[in-house]
């Protein structure tokens, strides 16, 4: 089986030659090709070279397009700062107050260089690997985009204390978001992973999720042209997972390392794919032996689960992670052998 066949078989709940393994190695590609991150996160060819190195070294079953959320904020007018061992961040958001939303025009996903960078990278990766490996991009759920435009504090203040204004903001964001994400599908993304910070039980209350996040998600997902994976973004997801089920286009869930996988499975039901694994930061702070042992324990626990993928939770696998730790994920899956369900 190649990676595409393995992922498709996983989605269909069919037997596998081995478990699919899908760590988030977008950033790690820059380390492998020794590419300065400012270039890596602006030049689609540099990024694609990095992912070629990732594919050659680790053979992951998914290749990630750039995970650079701050670039979306920069496309709205925020000031980007490039860092040595992390994806870019926002030094200052585009706007500071809710009033500024009135005159703010969202960037054009078909024209803005920061957004075209994502799309061009997907196109390059899909041209090179599309038939062999699913190409994936991680973009936060729509209710989190304003956080990148005005900062988390301003957005939280708006959602909590000015719900009418928050809805007005989302009326601007939704058409932009739908166009942007459908552009990613058109460029060759197999699926889009959507971190759900604003649905996490670490950040939002159940009331916020059920009255604000979920209705917007349902609306947006129904307008998308491809499958979506809802992801924890390094925060517990289980407590609110029931509020994220039964939504259009959602075919999988990537839960947090702290979430109980069996409970997550019982909430999402048997037909969705469940991704689980080690935290993207902690994987670099363990030994390779510890990584392999932990992964084997996870795989043993999910032995009967036809639609389980071993991955990493949170954003990118940390820069300083030793390569042998990443290989240990795959080694655990290899040694576990076939999945005959």
């Amino acid at each position: 089986m190649n990676s595409m066949e393995r992922m498709q078989a996983t989605m269909a709940g069919k037997p596998l030659d081995r478990r699919a393994v899908a760590p988030v190695l977008g950033l790690y590609g820059a380390r492998l090709i020794n590419c300065p991150l400012e270039r890596y996160y602006s030049d689609p060819f540099a990024y694609a070279r990095g992912q070629a190195a990732v594919r050659e070294m680790f053979q992951p079953d998914v290749l990630y397009a750039p995970l650079a959320f701050a670039s979306i904020g920069a496309a709205f007018g925020g000031e980007l700062v490039h860092l040595d061992t992390m994806p870019p961040d926002l030094r200052t958001p585009a706007i500071q107050s809710i009033q500024q939303w009135n005159t703010l025009v969202p960037p054009d996903p078909d024209k803005h260089p920061q957004l075209l960078y994502f799309r061009d990278t997907i196109r390059l990766l899909a041209a090179q690997y599309g038939g062999e490996v699913p190409i994936v991009i991680m973009i936060p759920i729509p209710t989190e985009i304003p956080d990148m435009v005005m900062g988390l504090e301003g957005w939280l203040e708006t959602v909590l204390f000015n719900p009418t204004a928050a809805q007005r903001v989302m009326e601007k964001i939704i058409p932009f978001y739908v166009r942007m994400v459908n552009g990613f599908f058109a460029a060759g993304a197999s699926f889009v992973v959507m971190p759900c910070g604003f649905a996490s039980s670490a950040i939002a209350t159940r009331k916020m999720v059920s009255l604000f996040t979920r209705p917007i998600l349902v609306n947006v997902l129904a307008q998308l042209n491809g499958p979506v994976v809802l992801q924890s973004m390094g925060a517990p997801m289980l407590d609110h997972l029931d509020l994220l089920t039964d939504m259009p286009q959602v075919s999988a869930f990537m839960v947090d390392q702290t979430d109980d996988l069996a409970m997550a499975r019982s909430v999402i039901g048997p037909d969705s794919v469940l991704f689980g694994g080690l935290d993207c930061t902690n994987i670099g702070r363990m030994t390779a032996t510890q990584v392999e042992e932990r992964c084997r324990a996870i795989l043993e626990e999910r032995r009967q689960d036809a639609r389980f993928v071993l991955g990493t939770s949170g954003p990118d696998v940390a820069w300083h992670t030793p390569p042998e730790n990443i290989r240990a994920l795959r080694k655990a899956a290899d040694s576990f052998g076939r999945v005959a369900v």
Partner: protein, 223 residues
């Protein structure tokens, strides 16, 4: 149900205006000057106990608690000549985000809860170099520096603050407190970056800073 519990219920629901109304009603009977000691302090203490781990509260609830605290401080500020709602001043402290870290919300929450407890907070903002932390602490006479970081890479920059404190012969005299999401995810990281202490959420920062301030005094007096 007592006023503290009613207030906590409002916070849980994110009902800031409801909290205002509750406080105004209480103050009409007992006076605003009694709110800090008789309502706010016990409420924050109760919340701190209740929110003992990151699984028991949401960031949104913490934010509402901070906003209600700020609201109270604004309401009573004119009644007191001392900062911190008339409490005995606890002294200056320095807080900021680690080098390359631009995630300010946690730091703002810590600043609010420290001010409410009577600390004179010098907030240096985001992306603060190690030398600036220690320079400022020396200038204002702070016994505690609090550094916030969200990601592993920015948390590791805190080692430079530790080194700067030690290089200037201030070990123990200036205590280093750290916090942020990554410290809750990575066991042992606080020790690794050389912190003298950490807590799992902003509400517990005041307690940590008091403890570290006392450690600094003990170091100075040789007790």
């Amino acid at each position: 149900m007592d006023i503290q519990q009613l207030l906590i219920e409002k916070i849980h629901r994110g009902d800031r205006s409801g909290a205002h109304a509750l406080l105004d009603n209480w103050a009409a009977e007992y006076g605003y000057e009694h709110i800090p000691a008789e309502v706010l302090d016990p409420m924050l203490m109760q919340l701190g106990k209740e929110w003992s781990s990151s699984e028991t509260f949401t960031l949104a609830q913490m934010y509402v608690a901070a906003k209600v605290t700020e609201d109270v401080m604004d309401k009573v500020a004119h009644l007191f000549t001392l900062p911190g709602e008339g409490k005995p001043p606890k002294g200056p402290v320095v807080i900021g985000n680690s080098e390359d870290d631009f995630h300010a919300l946690g730091r703002h929450l810590v600043g609010t809860f420290l001010r409410a407890e009577g600390w004179d907070v010098h907030d240096l903002g985001n992306d603060v170099p190690a030398t600036q932390f220690v320079d400022t602490a020396q200038e204002v006479g702070a016994r505690v520096i609090g550094v916030s970081a969200m990601m592993l890479t920015t948390a590791l920059h805190i080692k430079k603050v530790r080194e700067e404190i030690d290089r200037r012969g201030l070990t123990g005299l200036i205590q280093l407190a750290v916090g942020g999401a990554v410290f809750n995810v990575c066991p042992g990281l606080a020790e690794e970056v050389g912190a003298d202490g950490t807590v799992s959420n902003a509400l517990k920062a005041a307690e940590l800073f008091i403890r570290l301030g006392e450690q600094s005094v003990r170091k100075e007096t040789g007790e």
